[in-house]
Amino acid sequence: MLTLYKARSVITMNPSMPRASAVLVRDGNILEVGEPERMQPWLEGQQFTVDEQFADKIICPGFIDPHLHPSMAAVLLPMEFITAMRWKLPWGDVEPVTDPAAFDARMQALHHSKPAEEPLFIWGYHQLWHGEMDKARIHQVSDQRPIIVWHRSFHELYMNDPAMSMAGIDPAQIKPGLQIDIDQGHFFEVGLGFAINRLNPWILAPEKYAEGLRRLKQVVHHGGHTSIGDLATGMFNLDAEAKALTEQLEGDDVPFRTRLVVHGTRLTQGGRKPEEGPTMAADLLRHNSHRLSFGRHIKLFSDGAFFSQLAQMQEPGYIDGHHGEWLAAPEELERHIRAYWHAGYQIHVHVTGDLGLELTLDILQKMQDEKPRFNHGFTFEHFGFSTPEQIRRIKALGAQVSANVYYLHELSDSYAKSGIGYERASQMARIGSCFAAGINTTVHSDFTMAPAEPLNSMWVAVNRISHEDQVMGAAEKLTQQQALEAITINAAHTIGMADITGSLRAGKRADFTVLDDDPLNCDPMALRDIGICATVFEGRVFPIP
């Protein structure tokens, strides 16, 4: 059975034929992209339907987020969001809440909307907008219902008395001097670990986790994705995650495929040598199913968390003189990279600061000297800070970039004032230069670090507007064409799927994202508000309500 999809315009991302008006599909694969009148040779003597439901829409290649974390998302998504930034979620937009009174009002509204006994988990609090939080403030909402208010950074939380008794935390056991302020109900750093260990029955319970993954499935669909990358499979527990992912993200009702990239150091943790990793990772391929597949990819880590100012920075470093941190000793990172490089893997390295990037570039240079490889796909993930000179090295070494461009929107103002100064803060996510250098460059959400909305990532990359409405690093803006490449064909290259998706041409899977407006011709500021009416995954239409 053949289906001919007609559209107001088809954006192909195939540079040899950028635009068309129709796509002909058979059994989930594209037979031809172009004009209907030229497709007659395929249609003669065949049964076919002409599908006009997108006749006034724009068909794009299916969007791809090459780096997010379904398992993290599964934990977060069952919670209620009260955030300073906008989050578009399938069950409703989360409108920005930017002052303390509005935060309290929203807590009240959530409290009144829930059955009496249900604990209320809230995520997204940030003192910069929402003022100081404490237990008494939560008690004004309720001193009966367990309420947990989680910081946007995930590094601290507040609980009221009912929540503490639910979790079995006895205030009398908590002595002063700990990273717990029991009077304020505040748990941070290792105190947070103490709290989480006791909240786990609520946040990591199998049924909660499954519910979280079901929500993630909706989020991914809602964002217009047809492919995603899980860029640290096994971050909690490889077997448990693989089982849950198979249950929730495989099956005819799942409108996207997932590239699973295993967490390299977790894989060999517990006394296995890094050199055993490549064989262990290759063994995972036998678990592959239609939508869930490991490839010869591995994820490794260089420097610390961007949101916590633990990125390792070159001189002149941070204004307050603190240093970032390494997630593994440079020698250990090199040893892991060497093992996978020589085994022919595509290596994805988490890098946040320009010193973390410099180290990883030095290691990549060594690998190229030891065993030159072409088309190796070595990818710098997150790519917070960089220098122009490093862009040249990335190009020369044949590597690619997957940037969390959303950092620029949410963090560049505060990093300019209380991190590293305006010059470097405004140039975070230096991706215009990457495009200019001809480096394969994509953008990602790292969901839940940023919203899983490719159009939103595109909006940030094109406009480079901070949350205080300042244009940051205008010279690094992408064109709309580049930004769309970033979330389609370039992302497909990054997760090793460019042979089957990422653009629309004969022979690829029929993966579309169907838009109300043209993302290449619209007002750049309107990009993130373009309506997504449906996705098509391997020829099957999944409407977005």
Binding site: G177, L178, E189, N197, M235, P274, A328, A329, E332, L355
Partner: protein, 312 residues
């Protein structure tokens, strides 16, 4: 570093830190096989690399101690952290003392803060320094600042691989031992950091076996005075180390172990950051404990230090 959480039912944690490859695993293996390892000692090892703890030395829970593997990472990236999980697990078994091996890239102070966990209390941060690699590593582009921070944040430094670089000296007023020291393990197990400015009376379960006194030199003294002071110390003084400026003999590197006193000339061109002496004392006597708690009140060391300050 508040000491206000000290209470007799808190389990003390001794941190073993230092960069990758400095000998932490060797030291922990030594600890595990040490006859003086008190019953109920749990060892938490960093499990990020392919660390090779001697399996035969790992004791089961029914035995004297227990070894638990940890890995590194950020709570925001894993909704958990191994240290708090491990500490919660230890609450279930009778444990009296915890030895915690930090990751090679950890700053001791950050881990120290994490040891203020319900039911636990940090006791001392011991940092190993590789005598053969420290000089180069502390200038390294990537880990130089980290390695320097590890040394600065230590309460007790253990110099390893001194056989590869016998002349190695670390100019810091932090107590230093060699990993060849026969008393190393006992010293380490008994070590407790006490904030010199604090006036907290040590509780019985945390009584340190060793105390240190630090003399920061403010003005030149004579070699004669120095020799006299160092020769008339109380027998509880186990070791003295430091660098002292004298008016008549220049910079002197001091190393006193037991009764044996060594003084060497130090190049005048060196401009050391730290001048002074560190005294390591056994604090088993009640007299010593009393003076420790009252801030150097009446001990003989205190009077000797006063002589050094007065310059006569």
């Amino acid at each position: 570093m508040s000491n206000s959480a000290v209470s007799s039912d808190s389990i003390p944690i001794t941190l073993i830190g230092g960069y990758l490859g400095v000998g932490k695993t060797t030291l922990i293996n030594k600890l595990l096989s040490h006859p003086g390892l008190p019953p109920g000692t749990a060892v938490l090892v960093n499990d990020f690399g392919d660390i090779n703890i001697d399996e035969s030395l790992i004791r089961s829970e029914s035995d004297d101690g227990t070894v638990i593997g940890l890995s590194n990472g950020c709570i925001c990236c894993s909704i958990s952290d191994d240290l708090s999980k491990a500490l919660d697990a230890l609450r279930e078994i009778p444990v009296k003392h915890v030895i915690l091996e930090t990751s090679g890239v950890a700053e001791p102070l950050r881990v120290w803060r994490h040891c203020h966990y319900p039911g636990f209390i940090p006791k001392a941060a011991v940092v190993l320094v590789d005598a053969s690699k420290h000089a180069k590593r502390s200038q390294d582009k990537y880990v130089g600042s980290l390695v320097r921070a590890q040394v600065e944040q230590a309460h007790l430094l253990v110099l390893s691989k001194t056989d590869l670089n016998p002349g190695f000296e670390l100019n810091r007023l932090t107590p230093q031992l060699s990993n060849q020291d026969p008393d190393l393990i006992d010293t380490l197990l008994g070590w407790r950091h006490i904030d010199e400015t604090s006036e907290i009376a040590p509780s019985s379960s945390l009584q340190p076996a060793f105390r240190t006194y630090t003399w920061h030199q403010a003005q030149d003294i004579t070699q004669a005075l120095l020799t006299d002071v160092l020769s008339t110390l109380d027998e509880s003084v186990h070791r003295v180390k430091g660098l002292v400026a004298t008016g008549d003999a220049g910079l002197l590197l001091i190393n006193r172990v037991g009764d044996s006193l060594n003084m060497h000339c130090y190049p005048q061109s060196a401009q050391p950051e730290h001048l002074g002496l560190v005294f390591i004392c056994r604090s088993s006597s009640s007299h010593e404990m009393h003076s420790a708690a009252s801030g150097l009140g009446t001990s003989s060391i205190a009077s000797q230090i006063a002589r050094l300050d007065a310059g006569n």
